[in-house]
């Protein structure tokens, strides 16, 4: 079992930091002093893409074995398996042997390959490698966006079609037809593809610039803060020295001089903080400015029904002599009013109850009974 397999087919060994040491640490006891060749070169090549960040590492495991010559790390300590464009693995010596004299058929599938067609492996699983390469290629050409379509359904149909093509390419189904369809699409939509490519490029560029700006801003702020702190410190030092000089030279009593120095220091601090506040905007100011920019909502139309609310039957006063609500109105701690409670609403409800249904005739016995007694 590969000792470097993290688990799961997708979790390969792509971004494994501290590669060399971890490899050695987890390596089998068979070959304790084997030096593993790690490619951390800046031009890591995988599926035709250069990785410029230098973070991806080549995949390799302890029990690699070249399927062609069957040599492993024991026989060849510098074993390095490269992957062909038909996704078959081979060690470098075999590649040398087979392809140095020009194009030759792949020993596994007999596809004609050149020596250049080999690249180091990034993913543990070769099918993943193939899929990533296919998708990368498809994405370059099939970059239409939602805005390019009339409605959602056509966009979804397009996406589904693209996925179908991708699936065919990955699983080698009807490759020729699929390639023909792709070529046709490219020919028909060359303009849109070009446009979208440029838009994406521009968006990426803007993002980079934005990040740059933010970083610059942050650094500027840090610098300013640091310079301010230094200025503060220098000021305090100066004051201390001044005080000492004054104590030395003048005749005035010591405590008066000290008090004087302290008031001067306070005044200075106040001036400094006032200066700062003028620059920074408080949170409430920011909110208000944003609110001013906001688009106004359409006016709210409340639910309307035609129930009569008896409001013409009474007039609500602002104050009543009401022993029941004395505790609430006194409310020293403001607890009752916390949820937005207002005594006036309570009074209104009570008075509404008092006039609601005042003229309602009570239900009597059924009309025929009444008739008989009338």
């Amino acid at each position: 079992m590969s000792s470097t397999k993290v688990g799961g087919w997708l979790k390969g060994a792509t971004v494994k930091r501290g590669g060399l040491s971890s490899q050695l640490a987890s390596s089998s006891r068979l070959t304790p002093n084997t030096a593993q060749p790690q490619t951390t070169s800046l031009s890591m090549f995988s599926g035709g893409v250069k990785d410029s960040t230098g973070k991806t590492q080549e995949y390799s495991s302890q029990d690699d074995q070249c399927p062609v010559c069957k040599s492993d790390r024991y026989l060849n300590p510098k074993l390095r398996l490269l992957v062909s464009s038909c996704y078959h693995k081979m060690c470098e010596s075999c590649i040398d042997r087979l392809f140095t004299l020009g194009p030759a058929p792949c020993p596994v599938c007999s596809k004609i390959l050149r020596k250049m067609a080999f690249a180091p492996q990034t993913f543990e699983d070769l099918t993943v490698e193939k899929e990533v390469a296919v998708r990368r290629r498809m994405h370059k050409d099939f970059n239409k966006r939602k805005e390019d379509f009339i409605d959602l359904k056509s966009y979804n149909d397009y996406l589904e079609w693209v996925e179908e093509l991708t699936f065919n390419l990955i699983n080698d189904i009807d490759v020729a037809e699929t390639e023909a369809e792709i070529a046709q699409f490219k020919a028909e939509n060359a303009a849109i593809i070009e446009q979208n490519m440029q838009t994406d490029e521009r968006a990426a560029q803007e993002l980079r610039e934005e990040e740059e700006r933010e970083r610059a801003e942050r650094e500027a702020r840090m610098r300013e803060m640091r310079s301010q702190e230094d200025a503060e410190r220098a000021e305090r030092e100066k004051e201390k020295n001044e005080l000492i000089d004054r104590l030395q030279s003048s005749d005035a009593p010591a405590h008066k001089l000290v008090k004087q120095a302290r008031t001067e220091a306070q005044k200075r601090v106040q001036r400094a903080t006032a200066g700062l506040n003028l620059g920074a905007r408080s949170a409430s100011q920011l909110l208000r400015s944003r609110a001013a920019m906001a688009v106004p909502d359409p006016p709210h139309v409340p639910l309307s029904d035609d129930w009569w609310d008896y409001s013409d039957r009474f007039t609500l006063r602002d104050n009543y002599d009401d022993p029941m609500s004395d505790a609430v109105r006194a409310d020293v701690d403001g607890i009752f009013r916390a949820g937005g409670y207002r005594v006036k609403e309570s009074w209104e409800r009570a008075i509404r109850f008092a006039v609601a249904g005042l003229d309602l005739r009570p239900l009597d016995s059924s009309p025929d009974v009444v008739m008989s007694t009338a």
Partner: protein
Amino acid sequence: MADSTVPDASPPTRRGLYESSSQYQHWRFSPTQLQEMRDNLTNKAVSTIRAAFERDEPGSSNALEFLSSADELALVRLYATKIPQLSAHFRFSEEIEATGISYLKRFYLKNTVMDHHPKNIMLTALFLAAKTCNRMVAIDDYVSRIPKTTAADVLDLEFPVAQSLNFEFAVWHAHRALWGLFLDLQTLDPPPDPDVLHEAHKIALDAIRRSRLSDVELLYAPSQIALACLHRANTDLVRRWLATKGEDLDFAEGLCNSITNEIDAHGVAPPVEMVREIDRRLKLCKNPETIPGSRAYLRRRAELEAMAAAKRKRKAERARAAMEAEGDPFGPGMGDGAGAGSDSSGAGMDVD
């Protein structure tokens, strides 16, 4: 009684907010209606219980003496007097106390005492009232402060009570209307003497508390009840107020009289001895299906189980048929063809 032969003077073109409430629409009756309802309920219960007894042992029910609707009412009224005591014990507001009593009364318009003893229904009604009036008590706390009660006693009945109330939990109370009257009377010109007003309010509130034992809240609007109680306390003030509102004085006074008569007649706790005797008889004629462990109870349980199983089977059948027909256990979709048909069948599925 208000004179119903006088036709309504100009049919009202506007309908007040009170008429949108469930209390007005579903819980307002006439005295004869109330009596009918109660009698029907008792008779139906008696026949069901008789049948249950007969199924157990034929001939046993002839010797039994069942309760009459008046007996039931007396029992319910007694337990309605216990709610204020319990509510004071928990320091509930008057709103909760009044709501609990309303729930109790309404429950026994739909159920009989022989099926559900008011002792536990009273506890459940108060618990439910506390919940709906936004002053919920945790069930453990509630039950720990009432001797000889378990949480199951209360919680098992909570849903049946709510169902009998038709889930209409908002009750308009007369004591709030009285408060409103008290406030609005201060706007009279010239304003009444505060002491007089306070005194009248006190007397009227006492009358309202007594009225909760009677049926007035099922017959009249809460504003009318409050008016009647205040009318008895201080007639002059009420007359002046009615004049400012432009109300028909005769109608109002007639109404007040009927209400106060009703309160005087029934707003008293029934004598304890009588109720004890009723309780004794109740123990004998209780519905055996409600006594856990009895044969009738087990038989009823089996019946319900069978019904539930049949319903489940029907549902499974429907799903299976839909699966075979459409390949989708939920039946045809809303938009593909059988739209209206599937909608109605879907709606009807659960209303078995």
